[in-house]
Symmetry: C2
Subunit: 326 residues, 2 copies
DNA sequence: CTGAAAGCGCTTACAG
DNA sequence: CTGAAAGCGCTTACAG
């Protein structure tokens, strides 16, 4: 290659890397030779020499025993935004889906496969989060979304504001007896923050907050369904429902329909996450959506920042109005 | 590191790579030293020397002007499955979302960032596919899903069988006037294959196939909505609708509900893609779903196989029964 | 502005 | 079974 352009290896390197100290004529010659030979710089060798990878690793945690195709779409959107944010900064994204303990791996930075690591995914996989919590102790180049602990570096939705916005909207729609559904002791820390937002919203409207409704079920959808069943069974009076996540709200919408409870006529419903699926439910689901692009950017920035500049980041949220509230 | 274990660099390398020619005692000593020092093999340097990257690049093509968070969930599922398939074979996955011409990039193999490239995503981004069609000319380590051309290496759903299954189910549900909705001249080649399956299914049932219904609209959902509007406007008699993709079917379901056409009472509806969103539509959407895990495996295998072993692959599909057909 | 040389951190023939 | 040496393909001081 150097031969073809009639220059040294160093010059080829400088020309292709866009160095300032190269004559335009030389650069053109080199570029033409590269074109003719179909030459591309070996990124691996370049990175080895430069000592940086230009790559960010992203791991998506799934539920044990479930395939990657069945990940909550929320995390897919977040993954997409994070990849896009990496690209914005000129970084590649190395992604892996991890659910089973034997596949847990987070030493991307130590192995020099990446300059930073972002971890997202379900908070319900405790073993996975324990593993990555340890990784945060080895390395500063790490950022979490939705981790079930507070002692590491994370990025989260502005859950307090989201909860307040949801309640305010429900109240504006005429609701007074609003209940929050979600386990506030859940591994998903964001749920209790959303409940706090709910409480503040209720107080601001001069209403009394109920304790949170927790329900079982093998996944969020089933939990939402069961919450409705329980509320109805125990004769709770309610005209507004705020769910800790959209998947629950979607299950609840099904259950409400099955029991002929009119939405939004008899009860207004709001979820959290901004799932695209909510566009097609019956009725379409009003939801609190985080700014995905911003979430991706903060995640990447945090993972790349290293120790000292670490901050706990909040991503702004907004209410997406659909038909499930009057 | 070699010092700490009291052996040579070569021995460290062999011990950690699991070479057979190493004493158990030596290996243990090396592993312990690595543990103590928090040493990890530099994957970049190892790969450089070995001449292989252990990585597969995956690019997801999006619609120009649309963020990564708004990609059709079908491609997210396919992405997840492809990453999982790569992991199964011990490969890392380098993923990027590309929509605008200035960000098109496919020289991962030439730059030695990956050993193979798989390209998936919307067929509607013509400029992107033109670009990657050219890449297929440079490199054999490439595989496409849903490419709008037939002259390169691709993996697709078994669309013929899918179309037949859909029609058979609609017929079993009592439908006789079944119409196919989707542009068979579309850039999405799979649509015309699905139409062919529809035609064969109709013939097998002794029914006469209608010409396909094509409709405009800025995205698939709008197209589905408009198709219903048009069918009703022109007074077509129909009791079964088979859509070329779920997104269209979802839009159609909304439009049918808005016009008080009962589903599945007055008309049975089936889509194609296996979108999770279809679980929550009203009614839940019956759909033809490809085997995602298998799709991922075939994509990875094809991208890695290289020139001679190239084959055009079909992924098996199955009918997912939900409530939109009687 | 350009070239010769060293070196990034590994793996792998080649000896022993 | 293990070590010394070469070399993977680049980039970057160091000279000129």
């Amino acid at each position: 290659m150097a031969e073809r352009a009639g220059v040294s290896q160093s010059t080829v390197s400088r020309a292709l890397a866009g160095s300032e100290t190269i004559t335009e004529a030389t650069r053109r010659r080199v570029e033409q030779a590269a074109e003719e030979l179909g030459y591309h710089v070996n990124a691996r060798a370049a990175g080895l020499r430069k000592g940086q990878t230009g790559t960010i690793a992203i791991v998506v945690i799934g539920r044990a025993g479930q395939g990657a195709a069945r990940i909550n779409p929320f995390y897919y959107s977040l993954l997409g935004s994070t990849c896009a944010a990496a690209a914005e900064r000129g970084f590649e994204a190395l992604v892996s889906f991890q659910a089973e303990p034997e596949e847990f791996f987070g030493h991307y930075v130590a192995r020099r496969q990446a300059d930073g690591l972002v971890v997202i995914g379900t908070a319900t996989n405790g073993a996975a989060w324990d593993y990555f919590r340890d990784r945060a102790k080895d390395s500063d180049e790490i950022a979490f979304w939705g981790s079930p602990f507070d002692d590491a570096v994370w990025v989260r939705s502005d859950n307090l504001s989201g909860g307040q916005q949801a309640v305010a909207r429900l109240v504006a729609g005429g609701a007074r007896d609003i209940v929050f559904v979600g386990d506030t002791n859940s591994t998903q820390r964001q749920f209790s923050e959303r409940y706090d937002g709910y409480c503040q919203g209720m107080a601001a409207a001069g209403l009394t907050a109920h304790p949170p409704i927790e329900s079982g079920g093998e996944d969020r959808v089933a939990q939402g369904r069961e919450a409705v069943t329980r509320l109805l069974a125990q004769g709770t009076v309610f005209d507004g429902l705020f769910f800790a996540c959209d998947a629950m709200a979607l299950g609840a919408l099904e259950e409400l329909a099955a029991r002929d409870v009119a939405v939004p006529g008899a009860v207004g419903v709001i979820g959290f996450d901004g799932l695209g699926t909510g566009e097609f439910s019956s009725p379409p689901l009003t939801t609190v959506e985080p700014d995905f692009a911003q979430a991706g950017r903060l995640l990447v920035q945090t993972a790349l920042a290293g120790a000292d500049e670490k901050i706990e980041c909040r991503v702004p949220v907004r209410l997406v109005e659909r038909a499930s509230v009057g």
